[in-house]
């Protein structure tokens, strides 16, 4: 099955890691500090390279924590706002990764990636679509007037123990966040990576595109080291059969307008319970006349009402809210092309409706 965005972001997030015949997926990561009982010691100090710089090498997962953004609606220029709205209405089918094309500035926000660091060059290998990205730390400057590229051109330098990466030269075909805000070729991305200890890294992304936004704004996320596993090959267009079905019908775009009392009944905190792992936190909020769903590593995505209880997020993905016998919302079900996942409401019995913050 080809997993396309709309579905793909979600599918990666919901379905991976795919336990495909357990190959190298349980191999102990060499060089990992361990506690006496053999478990990875993720609080051990961050490793250093031979020349004393922080070593960011490792397999990192982006999808277990919230993406904090300081973007306000007023910061988005009208044309960009309209474009984001149109993409959401099209159920994200025009998201470039739906067509198995690169994620652009979103690179590395999707699930698992491996950082390999050498003195003059850092490479990020993404599991998603088997793509790589190079960050030169050999002193070169950004190219002047480069040929626009999906991933742009990246150079890095050290500021104390933080790696600062500047990227420019993007093409204008991708988006900068899961709210589908577009960008232009003027986009300049500044990332700061700080490895706090062995198992934790902070990543901050500043988006500066004066042609799409009125000011530079910042997203923050925490990244966790993923011990004792490995990247799986994922070729996006393998057995691709989906794209021709991405035909938006009137039924898909016909949105029901639900009153805000009903919407706020659904707002609240939910979690996907996972045996042996941290639950995945999901937040549903009311923004204007819409519900927004926020999932780890993915930011907020708008939901369009299809009935009083069901909402579309992206093509092929439906979220349904389910009531208990007292008429209170007890859980939600995310259905990605038939693959269902349940998230129970936190404090379901006592939760007061959470209105727009």
């Amino acid at each position: 099955m080809n997993r396309s965005m709309g579905s793909v972001v979600v599918a990666i997030w919901v379905v991976t890691p795919i336990p495909a015949l357990g190959q190298w997926l349980h191999y102990p990561t060499p060089g990992m500090p361990r506690t006496p009982d053999g478990k990875p010691n993720l609080s051990a100090p961050a490793p250093k390279t031979a020349d004393g710089k922080p070593d960011l090498t490792g397999l990192w997962r982006h999808s277990n924590s919230k993406l904090e953004s300081d973007l306000r609606p007023d910061d988005v220029q009208p044309w960009a706002q309209a474009a984001a709205k149109r993409s959401a209405e099209n159920l994200r089918t025009d998201f470039w990764t739906t067509r198995c094309l690169p994620p652009g500035p979103l690179f590395g926000l999707l699930d698992l990636s491996k950082i390999v660091q050498t003195p003059g060059l850092i490479v990020i290998l993404a599991e998603a679509a088997n793509r790589y990205r190079q960050i030169f730390i050999d002193g070169r400057g950004l190219p002047k007037d480069p040929n626009p590229a999906w991933q742009g051109y990246s150079v890095g330098h050290w500021e104390g123990d933080a790696l600062v990466v500047e990227t420019a030269g993007f093409n204008d075909k991708s988006v900068v966040d899961y709210e589908l805000h577009p960008h232009t070729e003027a986009l300049r991305l500044t990332e700061r990576y700080r490895r706090r200890d062995f198992g934790h890294m902070e990543r901050q992304i500043t988006i500066d595109d004066p042609k799409a936004f009125t000011r530079a704004w910042t997203m923050k996320t925490a990244i966790q080291l993923e011990p004792d596993t490995e990247l799986l090959e994922f070729v996006c267009n393998e057995n691709e059969k989906d794209v021709k079905h991405f035909v938006i019908t009137e039924h898909d775009t016909k949105e029901m307008h639900l009153d805000s009392t009903l919407l706020s009944k659904y707002a609240g905190e939910y979690e996907v319970l996972r045996p042996g792992r941290e639950p995945l936190a999901i937040t549903v909020t009311v923004v204007g006349d819409h519900l927004m769903i926020e999932r780890p590593g993915m930011g907020k995505m708008s939901m369009s009402a299809r009935s009083e209880t069901t909402f579309s997020v992206s093509f092929g993905e439906v979220v349904e809210f389910v009531n208990d016998s007292h008429g209170a919302v007890s859980h939600l079900i995310m259905d990605v092309a038939g693959d269902e996942q349940k998230a129970v409401r936190k404090n379901a019995a006592t939760a007061a409706p959470l209105a727009d913050k």
């Binding site: 015949l21 060499p30 390999v116 050498t118 003059g120 790589y132 190079q134 999906w150 393998e238």
Partner: protein, 347 residues
């Protein structure tokens, strides 16, 4: 000519679009007194004293020969088992429309054999190979792990490396069977095992030996001796293969056209480049040998699929034979997207 155009465009992926970082002097490489890269300087070593293969590498000197057709040596002819040979013939009859590379899928063993411009990035526990073509990567683990047992078949398989003196030996298995060994269409099975031996003889040169073993496909191993040349003062360009063409890859060769051995025999001979596109001559070679084997006409090692009495399709080019008024073949024209080249019959 459309299929040929596609086949060719796949080989010309490294399009120098706008000079960005493409002329930047590579920092930290040895240089001669006049500032030129010193490609004969000693090979660098890692802190552990192993050869360091890191750098940007371009295969040479005839990088694509085996990628076109793995059978270049007479001793390797008839190396394919009958079922594999039949599948090869079917790929030809289908105009190679199922070539995975033509559908923007990874080349697998073909990419390993003919990687194009690529970066080798070596750390102590893993070597990453970053390919310009298709912008895919491959990992070779040096951390002592073994090849996985019964892995999920993958486009690039699973690779582990170890040191044999100053040679890096890489074993790869666990391929899927959807890729081809070459652009000609020679298949392989999931049993394929690739062994690569890398030796960096000096700063600018790597000797590479590659062996394909596949008991379900090959009667004996196929071995290639190849070279990689350091590519100084340049950089990889992003290269994203957008699958826009494959919907049009509907061609099917005119398999109903069968020419008798008698009518084919007149084309057998040696042809020399006379005039026309130097690109074609550079690509296809200045001498062409046409042979008749078991009722099939071959241009060098590749079968010619008849489209008419005088026009044939082949990998990388179409061939048309010309006859004089007595019916004797005078010359051959090979056509590619770059143009046509005339080859006169010598004997």
């Amino acid at each position: 000519m459309h299929k040929i155009a596609i086949a060719l465009s796949l080989w010309l992926l490294a399009i120098p679009l706008g000079a960005q970082w493409l002329n930047l002097p590579t920092p930290g490489i040895p240089r001669t007194a006049d500032g030129k890269p010193n490609l004969n300087a000693p090979a660098p070593l890692t802190p552990e004293g192993k050869p360091d293969f890191s750098g940007l590498w371009r295969p040479g000197p005839t990088p694509y020969t085996y990628g076109f057709d793995v059978i270049q040596d007479p001793k390797d002819e008839n190396i394919f088992l009958p079922a594999a040979e039949a599948l090869f013939k079917r790929h030809l009859a289908d105009f190679r429309r199922d070539n995975p590379v033509g559908h923007c899928l990874p080349g697998g063993p073909l990419t390993i054999l003919t990687p194009g411009l690529h970066r080798i990035m070596q750390s102590r526990t893993v070597v990453a190979l970053l390919y310009e073509g298709g912008s895919h990567y491959r990992q070779i683990f040096l951390d002592g792990r073994q090849l996985p047992q019964d892995p999920n078949p993958a486009w690039f398989g699973y690779s582990v490396g170890h040191w044999d003196g100053d040679t890096l030996v890489v074993e790869t298995a666990g391929f899927n069977d959807r890729t081809w060994l070459d652009m000609a269409g020679h298949p392989h099975s999931e049993q394929l095992r690739v062994t690569e031996r890398f030796r960096r003889i000096d700063f600018g040169h790597i000797q590479r030996q590659i062996t394909f073993e596949d008991p379900q496909t090959l009667t004996k191993p196929l071995t290639f001796s190849l070279a990689l040349n350091y590519a100084p003062d340049t950089e990889i360009l992003e290269n994203i293969c957008e699958d826009r063409d494959s919907a049009h890859l509907v061609g099917k060769a005119n398999t109903s056209l069968e020419l008798s051995s008698e009518s084919l025999r007149r084309y057998v001979g040696t042809y020399e480049f006379r005039e026309g596109s130097p690109m074609v001559a550079g690509f296809m070679g200045r001498t062409q040998t046409v042979a008749l084997i078991d009722g099939t006409l071959y241009l060098n090692a590749l079968p010619l699929v008849p489209q008419s009495e005088t026009i044939f399709d082949s990998t990388g080019a179409a061939a048309e034979f010309f006859l004089d008024t007595n019916g004797a073949v005078t010359h051959l024209i090979l056509s590619q997207t770059e143009g046509d080249a005339r080859y006169n019959r010598m004997r």
